[in-house]
Symmetry: C2
Subunit: 190 residues, 2 copies
């Protein structure tokens, strides 16, 4: 079994620790939908970590129904933003990860479930580094294929634009805009 | 905006920090499929945190298509394990979270995508606390409904059994059983 050397780590809020990462519960609570990105680029080391978090995600029988095309070129990002009406933030992102998946006749629910698992793994890994993310759908599959170059038996399931927030840095949210805990959670039985 | 007071935190490997949590990247790398659970119960505070991580997960237009029924009673867990041939580990779990979702005529892919997002959020929050998790499908919906009591317009999409690993504690995996990074990730274009 692998060993990690003990070391001292100073805990300071996420906004100031974008390079070292934060405690998991803070990263989970800091992740929010970000669509306005600053000009700051993402270090390649960080991009690699975010992508690796997706690669490590669980999937049914470990089938890993995903490939990730990562785009950082501004001109390409601006083109990619045209695949969906609500994807303009792709053009402003520092990097966008396109999730490419097999075109299936059946088992699409399972595939989407696993793509969701990979997506949130990447989003939490990004939040850990102070990097925001915002999901974008893909309507124009033909344009997506022209830009991304994936083979005919795959499609672009969705995009994950990434970047540092233009305004409010990521910070653990005390009251996320969600249904109340007591409504969502049922103890023992509905 | 909420402030968190700076504090010193000693970094030690996850196996020894089950109560305080670990750095995000370690939690993400520690999560693995766990099906053999120890007898150790899960503190309610920790269960609440894991459930809250699911509640906080992103979803399409924030529709949050989920309810969580959490089961900790041994006799009920043993019954619940019968909903699927591969769900015997539910009976051995310290707690199992049943994900209940609306029965839809269309948009099932989107629903499953978001359930995947909630599931991994919970699994990473669990791994942060040294708690293992293992996905289980549901075949017998009638039995699941009888045990869990959800209304007729919902179904049990799947189960997330939780517990401390019986043998190897969670630990960041250096080489997860996954396709190689260079195969999964494409730079700029496929």
């Amino acid at each position: 079994m692998q060993r990690i050397r003990g070391r001292m780590q100073l805990y300071i809020p996420p906004a100031a620790t974008q390079d070292t990462g934060v405690e998991t519960w803070n990263a989970i609570r800091s992740r929010r939908d970000v669509r306005d990105f600053s000009e700051r680029p993402i270090d390649d080391d960080h991009l690699v970590r975010i992508l690796d978090a997706g690669r490590r995600a669980p999937s049914a029988r470990n089938w890993q129904p995903w490939d990730f095309v990562v785009v950082t070129d501004r001109a390409v990002l601006v083109e990619l933003a045209k695949v969906f009406g609500g994807a303009s933030h792709v053009g402003r992102s520092a990097a966008t990860i396109a999730l490419i998946a097999p075109i299936l006749q059946e088992g699409l629910e399972l595939e989407y479930f696993d793509l969701g698992q990979a997506t949130v793994s990447m989003m939490i890994a990004a939040a850990d580094l102070g990097i925001g993310s915002g999901h974008a759908a893909v309507a124009d599959q033909e344009l997506a294929r022209k830009i991304l170059g994936h083979p005919d038996d795959r499609f672009c399931a969705h995009l994950v634009p990434l970047g540092y927030p233009a305004t409010r840095p990521l910070f653990p949210m005390r009251r996320p805009r969600r249904r109340p805990f007591a409504e969502v959670v049922h103890r023992g039985r509905w």
